[in-house]
């Protein structure tokens, strides 16, 4: 009988653990759509081949967001006030995971709208940024599952560096007198990449920040910058 009661206690298949697991799958799917859309934009994949998969995955992400929200209401209704903070955190970051899918779709739109595939220095920088963001996303999933504070802080700093680089590229393009369609495409691409990195940073912030400071990480980034670099 005790086993029957115990089997109902929170496990992988119930409660917050289940929702965290579903959220982890959302992050995986987000990374998949981001990689796929970026590859299409950067010239590596046939658009028609990936279109169906990309939109289906994004639909799955949106569905998972609604599912988790529903489950959060049920969880909070049954468990009461003690579970509210955890529920509110999940409610907030589930939106970030969903936005990643949306920005990935925007990148795919660029692939369709751009007059030609990216070239030259911008291609190199975008490929580099794409790889970094994809790696940050993979790390984010691991850090989230492990609930590792130090690694989360590192991840926040990495994402912040990526965001700054995206801003720098946009600034450069504008200062250099961006005027053709390709420049507009690059500016939008850097902007979308920045937003993806920013949403991943928000997810990582949920591991270290108190609820009311979710998404606000400037102090962590500052501390990360102040830390002495290890000797080589």
């Amino acid at each position: 009988m005790l086993d029957w009661f115990k089997s109902g206690q929170e496990s992988e298949s119930t409660g917050l653990q289940k929702m965290r697991s579903e959220f982890g799958q959302m992050l995986d799917a987000g990374r998949h759509v981001f990689d796929t859309a970026s590859n299409a934009f950067l010239g590596g994949t046939d658009l028609e081949v990936i279109r169906k998969d990309l939109f289906a995955t994004d639909k799955r992400i949106n569905k998972a967001e609604r599912q988790i929200r529903r489950e959060l209401v049920v969880h909070a209704s049954i468990h009461g006030a003690s579970e509210f903070p955890a529920c509110l955190v999940l409610m907030s970051i589930v939106k970030d995971a969903e936005r990643i899918g949306d920005y990935a779709k925007n990148v795919f739109d660029l692939a369709e709208l751009a007059p030609s595939p990216p070239q030259g220095k911008n291609l190199e920088r975008l490929v580099e940024l794409k790889d970094e963001i994809s790696q940050i996303m993979a790390n984010c999933r691991e850090v989230f599952d492990a609930d590792e504070e130090e690694q989360a802080k590192e991840l926040i700093c990495e994402a912040d560096r990526v965001e700054n680089r995206c801003d720098d590229e946009v600034r450069k393009l504008i200062q250099d007198g961006a005027q053709d369609k390709m420049d507009t495409t690059y500016i939008l691409a850097y902007r979308y990449f920045k937003r993806v990195a920013s949403h991943v940073r928000n997810v990582a912030s949920s591991i270290v920040q108190p609820l009311h400071k979710l998404d606000f990480t400037s102090k962590i980034v500052k501390q990360g910058q102040e830390e002495p670099k290890p000797e080589e």
Partner: protein, 383 residues
């Protein structure tokens, strides 16, 4: 990590022990009521309920007692005890049982009032709460006159009770009279307490019965609260898993889940109140929540059936079965066919619309249904 798991195991074990102790005290309280009735004597005890032959007064008493105790389980268990002890007839007790069903729905209605600040959320929450009230009221409107004219609930319950008695005596009693081991296990409690009161305080007769009744009532309410709270915590994750399965569906599964949760936590108010925030947030539709509410009505009859296992006479079981049959019949009227199902749902939606337009209707509805109407009924009884 292992220490955390270990401490959770200890918590479950402690809660389970509290649950069984509370259940034992609940049964002990029922036994104590019976003991008090015996001490009072059948005549004196029966005079307590004189006037309840007016079914509308009895209905009002059922509503009001449940509203006051915030527990239909307490009301129905008391009724089972009084009927079992022969101080209240099955016929007079039936409207009280019906009234308890109506009275218990005030809890989730009050929970819904908590959503009053936001129109859309309040509309959904209030409709979710009042669909339970309206179902219960409609069932009484249909079944009370039918019962008064045909006595079908009483006769069906008596028929069932005879079969249960036959089965229990033949199978468990080996052909002779079977004595409930549950009753046997709690009999010492009122006897020991009564003799302590007699020897220690010199209480006798009506005074002794009065102290026993007050003690039993306190014990009953505390035991029910302890059962409900512990089972709610013990079962929280299971309940969550079950409710997640029926969020988007309506049907037998919801009915079964509502009955299951309520039978486990021993409180339909807990089940129905848990649903209100889900209604308010819009994750649970009225169509999907309605069967859970009906299931809660059926599940709550387990308490009266439990009480009947220690009731003095077989009539205790009869009235407990009336409670079950009443809720089953109501469910059969309003659940299987969509047209019938839509009646309480649409009425609840209309009422919610009205209350969103003018909040005064919330007050009018709650006070009118759960306070003024029953008090008028009680006035009829006392006059």
């Amino acid at each position: 990590m292992s220490r955390l798991v270990h401490s959770r195991h200890v918590e479950w074990l402690v809660r389970l022990i509290i649950f069984f102790v509370a259940l034992y005290c609940f049964l002990g309280a029922i036994e104590m009521f019976g003991h008090a009735m015996n001490i009072m004597g059948a005549g004196a005890a029966a005079s307590l309920f004189s006037g309840l032959s007016n079914p509308f007064a009895a209905l009002a008493v059922g509503v009001f007692a449940t509203v006051m105790m915030q527990s239909s389980s307490a009301t129905t268990s008391l009724v089972v005890t009084f009927v079992g002890a022969g101080t209240l007839t099955v016929e007079n007790a039936i409207p009280i049982i019906m009234g308890a069903n109506v009275g218990t729905s005030i809890t989730n209605t009050l929970v819904a009032v908590g959503h009053v600040t936001q129109n859309a959320s309040f509309r959904r929450a209030f409709a979710g709460a009042t669909v339970h009230d309206i179902f219960n009221i409609l069932t009484v409107i249909i079944l009370l006159p039918l019962e008064l004219t045909t006595g079908f609930l009483q006769r069906s319950a008596e028929f069932l009770q005879e079969w249960v008695d036959f089965f229990v005596n033949q199978v468990l009693g080996g052909g002779g009279a079977f004595k409930s081991p549950i009753k046997a296990s709690v009999e010492w409690m009122p006897e020991a307490y009564a003799s302590a009161l007699q020897n220690g305080l010199g209480l006798e007769g009506k005074w002794l019965a009065a102290v026993l009744i007050v003690t039993a009532l306190a014990m009953l309410i505390v035991a029910l609260i302890a059962i409900t709270k512990n089972m709610r915590l013990l079962m929280a994750d299971k309940i969550e898993g079950w409710i997640n399965r029926v969020l988007k569906k309506s049907g037998l599964l919801g009915l079964g889940i509502g009955a299951g949760i309520t039978a486990l936590v021993q409180s339909s108010s807990i089940t129905t109140s848990l649903l209100i925030p889900m209604f308010g947030a819009g994750v649970l539709t009225l169509e999907a929540g309605f069967p859970i509410m009906l299931g809660a009505n059926i599940g709550t009859t387990v308490t009266a059936l439990l009480a009947a296992t220690v009731a003095i006479g077989p009539a205790g079981l009869t009235i407990a079965l009336v409670h079950l049959l009443f809720n089953l019949t109501g469910t059969l009227i309003f659940f299987p066919f969509r047209t019938m199902r839509q009646i309480p749902i649409k009425l609840a939606e209309k009422l919610a619309e009205l209350t969103v337009k003018n909040r005064v209707w919330v007050l009018v509805y709650i006070l009118g249904t759960f306070v003024v109407a029953p008090l008028l009924g009680i006035l009829i009884w006392r006059s």
